[in-house]
């Protein structure tokens, strides 16, 4: 380490401190950096704590900079260490345990603390704030042991905490001093709609209540309000607000008021000492949201690196509530006064509300509820006090403007955006960083920008703006850039690649990548499996399946789990098994110490937690076919009991399901493929969420396609009605082959049906008899080539050793 580097000490290891450090590292290598953090964790995304609480993310997911990052950048990190004061005479930072570190410059980024109401009983057990990972863990722990929670505070944080506790199964009441929720961000109308929505989601409210005392012995047992009423509860979250954490500054003799007082370059009253984020007070304002801290950090980083910068002149704050299914946004002024012109629209059926406030014709505030798609442009217009025009009105209020005009205006607004403006609030990425990435690295897609800068990576809310920036920078190139490239290695689309493979008779992925000019000669984890699929689909007899281009699950014929163990799912055709098979499954599970036996959603059994080297042995002893639970292939055909036993049954669904599963198993598809067969229109086997769903009726069958119950649910479309079992099998065959031949790799039928259009599929499969026959012939030919993969491994000792055993 060079001795002449200046020593920078950062007090606070949160988002404000570390994002400033990241900016500094980008600008200059001249600092020797030390970071102190009171928490035991590396820097994490505090605004995502509510996702941790509701279980949609883990603590690991929200870590922004892991310990390796600090190491790589030569940053000394002291976690679990609280700084007591700064000694400006000795130029040293002193920790609470008396250690001292010399500095040339100090950045205070100590953030804020939850405001604990100073009422009697606030120190009882079971009373927590909502600020840190530790608080989250406490709340999750409490939810396991206690049933009734009270959240004091109906602001952003309180509501997110309440929703989290409801998802953890607690009975939650939000206690709020005012009559409106989030009264610092929302007007009465939006607040009432928000309250109604949250009540639907299971949160109770006690409005207009001031807490006077926390009741109970050692542990909290309830709240008493100033109106004499009480609320019983065994857990309390204080979310009544935050106060800047100014302890260090105060102890060091730095000027403080509500927060640490800073000027427009984030300088405190002490020479060489700066402050950034929620601990500061700038022009009388303390901010409690994430965007201002990035803006402050940018100015501060430039200032300490000696790069010219505009002064920080304050932030226009905007708010978004992070509760799933509740979209709320507000920016700038949100309550109308006599000086305002109000534009508002309310739709009680769609439960949306939109209000824009104008002052002298300029946009100064906005509130959105339900539909927040215009949040990004509005935020910008509020910030810039944009003059309202007919065009903007049409755009944001959904008037009758054609799409192209709107798109052009959006690009214009990106053009006028300042380079330093933050586009991705979660990761602190500015417009300039995105523009630089596009021009310097020649990026052409949002995915590439995500990989390079991190923008859109966390919540994805800024994706439309990133797209607009891309469009603005690339200009005419954008159209071509946007629609192409199955991955970063090529600019060719799926259709172009398939056409080239056919035209040039390409045989291997290597040949395709070489002839078609891949930028990465051996491709990536996205294109290699796709090419391998297209080659096999085009020439099922000649194509030699490339193990090295298969994703691990399809290479090993088992699903990899997070600990590196695997799962085994044998076939149970149509979801029907026998006592003999069950006995064998039980014996094998015991013998190989299977961790869990799980009944799957597809009506079969999953043996979870199998060691890789045990897989072939288990298959051998089970002596059952692979269920392909790991593959882009036919998974299961779910069935109801049907006419064999059910009094309502009109068709033999179990038999038809088993027949279809035996017929189409083992075939490669663009994506996983699920089917269902029902014996009557009661639809107990849920045809509406399957790729092909079949419903029996008294005179025949009805076929549904494009259903999906997964990440983007879609109810299947009715495709056709037929009379005989033979017709049913024919149509399924033709449908499957048409999907195989036209689907993009990883594209489920739910997306495929929407992209192709139902009519295109009908005309290929139903209307044109010759084409149907050809499709059936081709699928029959492909089906001749398949064999059970588990048996194949057992017959090939070489493959078995190479793929499943250690060296």
């Amino acid at each position: 380490m060079k001795a002449d580097r200046e020593k920078l000490v950062v007090i606070g290891n949160g988002m404000a401190g570390i994002s400033t450090v990241e900016q500094i590292l980008k600008l200059s290598g001249s600092y020797d950096i030390t970071v102190f953090g009171s928490e035991p964790h590396p820097n994490y995304n505090r605004i995502m704590l509510s996702y941790v609480l509701d279980g949609s993310k883990t603590i690991e997911d929200i870590i922004l900079n892991d310990l390796t990052w600090y190491e790589e950048h030569g940053i000394k990190l002291y976690t679990d260490t609280t700084v007591a004061r700064i000694d400006s005479m000795a130029k040293q930072v002193i920790t609470e345990d008396g250690a001292s570190v010399p500095y040339d410059k100090v950045i205070i980024a100590t953030g804020s603390n939850p405001l604990m109401l100073p009422v009697p009983g606030c120190d009882k057990q079971g009373v927590v704030g909502f600020r840190k990972i530790e608080d989250c863990s406490n709340m999750m722990e409490a939810a396991k042991r206690y049933g009734k929670a009270a959240v004091i505070g109906g602001g952003l944080l309180g509501l997110e905490a309440a929703k989290g506790l409801v998802s953890l199964g607690m009975d939650v009441t939000v206690v709020h001093l005012m009559e409106d929720l989030m009264e610092r961000q929302l007007d009465h109308q939006a607040a009432s709609m928000l309250k109604a929505e949250l009540e639907r989601q299971g949160i109770r409210f006690a409005m207009g209540k001031q807490t006077e005392e926390l009741l109970g012995q050692e542990r909290v047992e309830g709240l008493r309000f100033t109106d004499g009423t009480e609320l019983s509860c065994d857990f309390v979250v204080m979310a009544a607000g935050i106060k800047p954490n100014i302890g260090v500054a105060k102890a060091s003799g730095i000027a403080v008021h509500k927060g640490i007082i800073v000027d427009d370059y984030m300088r405190t009253s002490m020479h060489h000492v700066y402050a950034v984020g929620e601990c500061t007070e700038h022009r009388g304002v303390c901010y409690g949201l994430v965007a201002p801290l990035f803006e402050q950090g940018n100015v501060l980083a430039k200032h300490v690196c000696g790069v010219h910068t505009q002064p920080y002149e304050g932030s226009v704050v905007s708010t978004k509530l992070k509760i799933s299914g509740v979209d709320v946004f507000s920016a700038g002024e949100f309550i109308e006064g006599p000086a305002h012109t109000v534009i508002a629209s309310q739709n009680d059926w769609k439960r949306t509300y939109k209000k824009i406030l104008l002052r002298d014709g300029k946009i100064t505030g906005a509130v959105l509820f339900g539909d927040v798609s215009e949040a990004a442009p509005l935020q910008k217009m509020v910030k810039e006090h944009t003059e309202m025009t007919d065009e903007i009105y049409g755009e944001v209020m959904g008037g009758g403007h054609c799409g192209s005009g709107g798109a052009a205006r959006k690009v214009l607004s990106v053009e006028s955006m300042a380079g330093e403006e933050i586009v991705c609030g979660c990761n602190g990425v500015t417009k300039q960083m995105i523009v630089d990435a596009i021009t310097e690295q020649g990026l052409k897609t949002v995915d590439e920008i995500k990989a390079s800068t991190g923008a859109t990576r966390s919540c994805g809310g800024c994706k439309p703006v990133v797209e607009q920036i891309l469009q603005y920078v690339l200009g005419d190139e954008f159209q071509t850039a946007a629609k192409q490239g199955i991955c970063g290695c090529t600019s060719l689309s799926r259709d172009e690649i398939v056409a080239e493979i056919r035209a040039k008779g390409l045989k291997t992925t290597r040949e395709v990548m070489h002839v078609l000019g891949w930028s990465q000669p051996e491709g990536c984890s996205k294109c290699r499996p796709a090419l391998n699929y297209y080659l096999g689909m085009i020439d099922p007899a000649e194509h030699e399946d490339e193990k090295a281009s298969r994703f691990v699950n399809e290479r090993l014929h088992a699903n990899i789990q997070k600990d590196g163990t695997y799962t085994v799912v044998p076939r149970m055709y149509g979801g029907v098994t026998t006592p003999e098979d069950l006995k064998r499954i039980a014996d094998v599970s015991l013998k190989y110490d299977v961790k869990v036996v799980k009944v799957t959603g597809g009506q079969r059994l999953d043996l979870i937690g199998v060691k890789k080297e045990d897989l072939p042995k288990i298959w051998e002893e089970l002596d059952m076919p692979s269920g392909y639970a790991y593959a882009k292939s036919l998974r299961t055909v779910k069935t109801c009991v049907g006419s064999q036993f059910c009094r309502f049954g009109t068709q033999d669904s179990m038999a038809m399901g088993a027949l279809l599963e035996r017929k189409f198993e083992r075939l490669d598809f663009p994506a996983k493929f699920k089917m269902a067969v029902n014996g009557c229109p009661r639809n107990c086997a849920e045809s509406c969420t399957k790729d092909i769903g079949i419903v029996g009726n008294d005179g025949g069958w009805e076929i549904f396609i494009g259903g999906n119950g997964g990440i983007k649910p879609r109810i299947a479309d009715s495709f056709c009605k037929i009379k005989t079992d033979l017709e049913l099998i024919d149509i399924c065959s033709a449908l499957i082959q048409f999907y195989r031949e036209t689907g993009k790799y990883l594209e489920r039928t739910s997306e495929w049906v929407e992209r192709m259009g139902l009519e295109t599929i009908r005309s290929a499969v139903l209307d044109n008899e010759t084409q149907r026959k050809e499709l059936i012939e081709r699928v029959e030919f492909a089906l001749l080539q398949v064999e059970d993969p588990w048996k194949k491994v057992l017959e090939q000792p070489g493959t078995r050793r190479m793929l499943y055993e250690q060296v």
Binding site: T68, S452, Q520, P529, I560, K562, V807
Partner: protein, 117 residues
């Protein structure tokens, strides 16, 4: 501390399929050993630097990179460096091929073979 390498045998070149990885145990170390399409051999700790961990040996290999099988992080086999936008590094070990035998160089202090305790 001195960085003395001891070379341990890990099968023959034929044990490694092209563009494939295999797991090798040396003492208490679990390694992922990769054979690229151009014939180079690389050895790394068989553990992804992703916070959730998981093995590396089963990843898809492209040139001298591997895509980790669980979280799709792209890792350079040469230095073990995780490619942007992700961060991290996997420990790597030198590999020698002598007369068809694969040998992996392990710093002496990091191996505790079964009998030594």
């Amino acid at each position: 501390m001195e960085n003395v390498l001891s070379y341990y045998p890990a099968g023959t070149l034929e044990d490694y399929g092209a563009q494939m990885g295999r797991v090798v145990h040396i003492g208490e170390l679990e390694l992922a050993v990769f054979h690229t399409s151009t014939g180079e051999m690389y050895a790394l700790d068989n553990r992804s630097p992703h916070p959730k961990g998981g093995p590396l040996a089963e990843g898809i290999i492209s040139g001298h990179f591997v895509y980790d099988p669980l979280y799709d992080w792209k890792i350079d086999l040469k230095e073990g460096q995780v490619q942007s936008p992700d961060h991290g590094q996997v420990r790597t070990y030198p590999v020698l091929v002598e007369d068809g035998t694969v040998k992996i160089g392990i710093p002496s202090e990091s191996v505790h073979t079964g009998g030594s305790r």
